[in-house]
Amino acid sequence: MEKIEFCPLVQKKELTSKAFIDMTLNKLRQKEVKKLNAIWIEATGCSGNIISLLNANEPDLVYLLREMITLKYNNSIMANEGENAFNIFLDTLNTDFILIVDGAVSIKSNGQYTIVANYNGKRITAMSAIKMAGEKAKYILAVGTCASYGGISAAKPNQSECISLEKFLGKDVIKLPGCPCHPDWLIGTIAHILVKGKPELDSEGRPIMFYGITIHDNCPRRSYFDSGIFAKKLGETTCMFKLGCRGPVTRTDCPTRKWNEYVNWPVGNNTPCIGCAQAYFPDGMEPFVRY
């Protein structure tokens, strides 16, 4: 039954993040894998991906930090401040670490539009911090649509000249787009890295286990689409396609995974998918709501 390997649905079922996390835990307990250090740089964006990570549940943030990674640096949640904080960043560069970047890379005026630290009287741009860490990191994760593709930070006219992490570093990174990135997509990817190394990626660099299928393929409102029953306004419970739904082109598992402890998702809340995990979000995905 070799063909099963090529069926994305079956593959997805086999490779759930929960299965990986259980496997990771067992291996951690048996000391077959060790916790990795992590540096999380918030660059040019809204710092919303760390907030989304705080919304993780089973495994939650505490579990992630206790069992899977040692998060050394993150602007939003680390206790240390100022040079003490940046010293930790510098010290971690000499260890095995995962680099996580949240936000696009602003290159305008040599990075002066996003400053992340002041060290020995010199301002450190997000651009230079990413360069320093990107050269030494064992794995590099672009978390969220801004880091993955430029996202809303690079929306026209893009005055801060934002580009994606991959374009800036000039090397392949693992992309976890989504505005924000679902916490499971990040934790599941880290679990895979700890146990088996890099997960299988699609041609754009996204883990297939989370980004293999379009929203439209798995949409619970698909039967309305197939029957040609379309919502005429937000709040209706039928297919959102004619209001501008980007489900047909957006590859995430939102319809089956859902958000915030799995309670709801945008289409479930009677609104169109706006394609927030796609490369051309937002400029190529507008109008978000078409009347």
Partner: protein
Amino acid sequence: MSTITINPITRISGFLEIGVKIENNKVIDAKCNGLLYRGFEKMLQGRDPLDAIYFTERICGICSTAHSMASSLALENALKVNPEENDRMLRDFIHGCEFIQNHLRHFYLYTISDYATGPQLEPFYNNHSDFRLPKALNDRISNNFIEAIKYSRLAHTSLGALGGKAPHNHGAFVGGVTVNLDSYKLIKVKSIIKEIKSFVENHMLEDVYTISEYYKDYFNMGKGYGNLLSYGVYDKYSDASLTYVKPGIYLMGHLYEFNPSKITESIYNSWYIESKNNEGEYEAEPNVEKEGAYSFVKAPRYEGYAMEVGPLARMILSNNYPYRISAMDRTIARVLETKKVLGIMEQLLDRVTLKEASQKQYEIPNESYGAGLTDTTRGALSHMIHIKNKKINRYNIITPSVWNCSPTDNAGVKGVIEEALIGTEIQDIKNPIEVGRIVRSFDPCISCATM
């Protein structure tokens, strides 16, 4: 005289550098530098007006719902849409979830590490020379720090249940909401709010009072100007139990009615230069080469005064807190407000009826102006929209953190946080923890302040 620069000010959203000049261990000058720029007001030009809601949310990862509220209000004003009361109540509930998520995260994840060690888990654990709590109390608060991660998550779960997802919800929209409330959704959010309220009443209140007892000196630190501003929130209901704070001003010892035409905005010390666009209108263009400028934050003023906004301003203006202003009072007011807003949210849920959202197909006018002013987690937020040829022509946003984190203006009036730092006694110049404590009491959000 010496100068201290702290950057990053961690445990806030976005990038903030604080520079203070110190003479005889006393702060004699302070500079608040917001170090991020994306240009949302510019990006919005030419886009579809209805897209402003989901677009502006992405200014901020921690308070995105605030922007969906203000932009929905601005669009309703421009499109002459008046939401039905049931939908308005549900949207106000969604907004409440954002307050609770923010306040829990700000108090435990962002503030606690200034006053207690926090849990023994990287990157939360802190270790400096001015922790004063006895071990048992320190451990209790550090344990609640971990617990609070669950409760702040639940606040977003409740937001997601009615708003689709969080951060960056889909459910707050022109005309109210998009959710069709049913008995399961109602009982789901009711049970979550009850659970959070129990944590707030049984732990969070006690924790903030414990800290205030051991750090009494912070009742005399970080006062600043003491001028307060609110645009009001939970102020549109006739029912007193749904009412929190009306728009108001407290200026130089007197209460005044709020008059939006008295707001001005200076870019004197900000990295912007005025330039004329194609239509002859002046716009602020970013320019990091501008001499003397030191921040991407602009400087809004009310009748020329720098105004403090946020939970303490609201609690005082609504007579829920005495007129007492300091770093510690701000922190206490934030916790008391958490309880207050949870109470209003419960009342809203008691009044909503199970029915479908009253959404309509909205017609975009050829030309129209709209203003959406509301208080939100961090204070007064305004969105102003000008629609022309059915597209966004201009969009202006003044966020709460612009009010609090502004630089000095053209008249030499310092920003609110700058003024609050001046006069502070620094015990150990090598370890100026006082600065971070005062700055964080304002809950700065530089993603919002700079956009």
